[in-house]
Each structure stands twice: as C-alpha cells, then as structure tokens.
C-alpha cells in the first residue's frame, strides 16, 4: 500500500531525513514515534507529498509521490490526513467542512455529500454539532470532526500527525477511541503519536525514529519487549514512566 524507499530530505545542510525505508501493507497500523525533531512528522508528510524530498522514492497504491508527472491533488484526495492542530476551516460550519471537498474535489452531488457527512458525524458522535462552527467545539470534538472530514473522502489509507498532542488530557481518549475503532475496521494507518497505550493495543508495527533515521522498525511486541537500540530504550524509559 505504502512503500518508502531510501527517502532523504534536507534543508540546506541540515538533514531532516536520512535514507528512510519501510513498507506499510493494506490494513496495517503503524505507529511512528521518537523524540521531537526526529523527522517523524516530516516523514508522514512526505507520504502525501505535503513535504517534498530530494532523493528516494515513495509509492502509494502504485503511484510514485515524487514523480513530477504525478497529479498530487488526485493522490491526496485518496489519502486522508489528520493534523495536530485539527485545521478545520473556521469560516465554515461543521457540515460545510465535511461536504466541501466531497463536492469540489470528488464532484459528488450535494445530497450525497451531506448524507455521507452526516453518517460520519454520527459515527464520531457529533451529529448534534452539525450546524455549529469549529470555534464552538472543544479540541477533542474538533479533532473528531477532522477525522470524519478525512474519512468522507473514502481514503485508501489514513495519516495521523500527532493527532492528540494539542489536546487537553481529558480529551485524548475520545480521539484515540475513534482511531482504535478505525484500526479495528481494517483501515491502513500511519500514526505519528506519543500515545504508547494506543501503540500497544492497536499497532501492528512500531517505527522509532531518531535524528532523521528510522532506528527501529519492528512488531509492537518486539519493540516494547526489548528495543534493540539504546536511543529507543531511553525513549521508552522516559515516556513509560508517566
């Protein structure tokens, strides 16, 4: 489904990503973790071409992301993405947020898009908020709407970029619950997150990154039982203390 091969990226002399390679199969859930500045957000933003990269290759569902001839908009329409800061469109109601890309990008009819949008709002438990604006919702609710907005495009896979990092602690779980359910339904997911509980219960594999490199790429059991690298051991020790 997603193949990342020897991807490197740099800003001037600073190497953000060095020779990153991994693959994600259909239905797999991958958690990408690592200290801040390790390049994990950059890596998943490369997957849908939001961040360009200088060398290597990323292939999503048979389409090469780095290829100039690739229609990136078309590819992105099939890859859902959820951001740390939700990025709902503040000048549109929740309903409009869910409908706009369906009608403008996928050219669905307004009725069909509304129908789909409402079903997904139901699913994330926010149907009652349909007429409100993003600013009137809590962070957790906004993030659930953002997930619904991405799902409305019927994506072939989902990318999550620290979806719970900007949330108050009591709202983290409502978002993780939605993600867990999604994973159980067989959605292919790549999640950058520090939520090790989520990783333990849902992930198939864990990727650990440090200084722009993929240091560990292992099944979750192997990763949590005995991480091979010292950096990962330190990281886990720190993050699991709390």
């Amino acid at each position: 489904m997603i193949k990342i091969a020897n991807v490197s990226k740099q800003y001037g002399d600073f190497k953000v990503l060095t020779e990153c390679s991994t693959t994600v199969s259909k239905g797999e859930v991958i958690v990408v973790c690592g200290p801040s500045g390790s390049g994990k957000s950059t890596l998943i933003k490369c997957v849908n071409g939001l961040e360009p990269f200088q060398s290597g290759e990323i292939v999503v569902n048979g389409i090469s992301v780095g290829d100039r001839k690739t229609n990136l908009s078309k590819l992105r329409a099939q890859v859902g993405m959820v951001f740390q800061n939700f990025e709902l469109f503040p000048h549109m109601s929740i309903t409009e947020n869910l409908v706009i890309a369906q009608t403008k990008v996928l050219k669905r009819s307004k009725d069909e898009a509304m129908d789909k949008g409402m079903k997904l709002l139901d699913r994330v438990g926010l149907r009652a908020q349909a007429a409100k604006y993003p600013g009137q919702l809590s962070g957790g609710q906004q993030q659930r709407v953002a997930i619904a907005r991405a799902l409305a495009m019927d994506p072939i896979c989902m990318l999550f970029d620290e979806p719970t990092s900007a949330l108050d602690p009591e709202m983290v779980n409502e978002v993780l619950d939605v993600m867990t359910e999604l994973a159980r339904e067989g959605m292919t997911m790549m999640c950058v997150t520090h939520e090790m509980g989520f990783a333990k219960s849902v992930a198939n594999r864990v990727i650990f990154m440090d200084q722009g490199r993929i240091v560990e790429d292992d099944s979750k059991d192997a990763f949590f039982a005995n991480p091979r690298s010292e950096r990962a051991q330190q990281f886990l020790a720190k993050i699991l203390q709390h």
């Binding site: 933003k45 849908n48 939001l50 990136l72 908009s73 078309k74 992105r76 329409a77 099939q78 890859v79 859902g80 993405m81 951001f83 800061n85 990025e87 709902l88 469109f89 503040p90 000048h91 706009i100 890309a101 403008k104 990008v105 996928l106 907005r149 991405a150 495009m153």
Partner: protein, 226 residues
C-alpha cells in the same frame, strides 16, 4: 471680521449632488477594481513563479512611491490621447472621468494589494496543508479556504482604505472634473463665496467619513470582539 453668507448653497445643491455622484462613482469603481486587481497582484507577489512576483513587487513599489496627484495628472494629460488613437474616439472626446477612474483604480490597487497580501499571510499555513491534503488544487484552496478567511480578517482595513480613497477623490480637481469638491469650488468661485462653500464641503466630507469610520469600528467589534 468676515461676514458669512450661506445663501448661495441651497440653490447650488443639485449641482453639488451631481458632483457627489461623481465622487462616489470614482470611489466605488476604484474600490472594486482595486480589490480585484489588488488580489491578483497579492497572489502574484506571493507566487513562487519569480517573474510574476517581481512584476507585482515592482508595480506596488512604483505606485506607492509616487504622489497620487501626479498619477492623476499623467492620466489626465497622456492617457486620453492614447485612448483616442487606440479606440478610435473622435479627438476632444471628454475622457476626463474615465481616465481619472483608471488612474485611481491602478493607483489604489497597489495599496489594496498590500492589505490583501497581509490578509493572505494572516491565514495559518496549516489551512493550506489541510486543503491540499483533501485533494484541493492550489486554486481551489485559495478560493475556498484562504481568501474567504483573509477577506474576513481584512474587512475593516479595506473599508478604512475606501474612506481614505473617498477623500482622495477630491484630487481630481487637477483635471477640472466637477466632483463634489470641484463643484463646491466652482460654485464658490462663481458667487464669490469660496470660503463658505469650502467650509460646507469640508463639513460634508467630515460627516460622511466620520460616520463611515464609526460603522467600520462597529463591524470590527462585531467580527473581532476582544
């Protein structure tokens, strides 16, 4: 002590009203063209295509570095000839209004484009990422996501600029156009009551601009409380 005599004003009101209509017409079309052309200039300036961005920067810097009255004079003296030959108008057609309007529009676009550029930049980058991630093209994300938010943030500034523009329309007197100020001047000159007419015109400008800026303040409070 100067004795005021306001008696020539009532009779001149229809003529002054005609002048006001010209002032408002110039303002309205300069605001309209200024916003449309200004938006295009702002998008060019922010574009990654270098020649476009250079052109827009040159245009804006040029018009912001010369006095408006100069631009109006050029448009008064030179552009009508151009149009006459270009569009085959009979020589001596009265093109003063159209050339004044064109001068204003082109000049004000430079100022509007700076306001709009700041407005576009005030929209968080993440919004463009989110729009792109949903498969929107650059054009769609601008049109559907960035510009609506930018304009919402900019409304007070755009209106304030429109008020300044309305005041500046009085500068068309250099082309002997009878806008409101020009009309007042003509009446005062004719009746030997220049002081009264100019005081009256000043009062009218004050009332209009002051009320308009109060309305802008209210709008600002409504949309951006805090």
């Amino acid at each position: 002590m100067h004795e005021f005599d306001w008696s020539s004003i009532p009779g001149a009101l229809p003529f002054l009203w005609d002048g006001m209509k010209i002032s408002l017409l110039i303002t309205a079309q300069a605001v309209l063209i200024g916003i449309v052309w200004g938006t295009l200039l702002a998008m060019m300036r922010l574009s990654s295509i270098k020649p476009l961005s250079w052109f827009a920067a040159g245009y804006v810097n040029f018009f912001r570095a010369i006095p408006l009255v100069m631009v109006l004079l050029w448009f008064f003296l030179i552009v009508p000839r151009f149009i006459e030959t270009l569009l085959d108008f009979p020589p001596g057609s009265d093109l003063r209004l159209s050339s004044a309007m064109m001068g204003f529009a082109l000049f004000e676009s430079a100022y509007y484009s700076e306001i709009i550029r700041a407005g576009i930049q005030s929209v968080p980058k993440g919004q463009i990422s989110a729009a792109s991630a949903l498969g929107m093209t650059y054009g769609q994300s601008m049109r559907l996501v960035v510009l609506p938010q930018a304009f919402r943030n900019m409304v007070p500034l755009l209106l304030t600029q429109a008020i300044i523009l309305f005041q500046d329309t009085s500068l068309v007197y250099v082309s002997a156009l009878a806008d409101f100020f020009g009309a007042a001047y003509k009446v005062g000159d004719r009746d030997g009551r220049l002081v009264e007419l100019l005081l009256f015109a000043g009062a009218v400008y004050f009332v209009i601009c002051f009320s308009a800026s109060q309305i802008v303040k209210r709008l600002q409070k409504k949309y951006h409380p805090a």
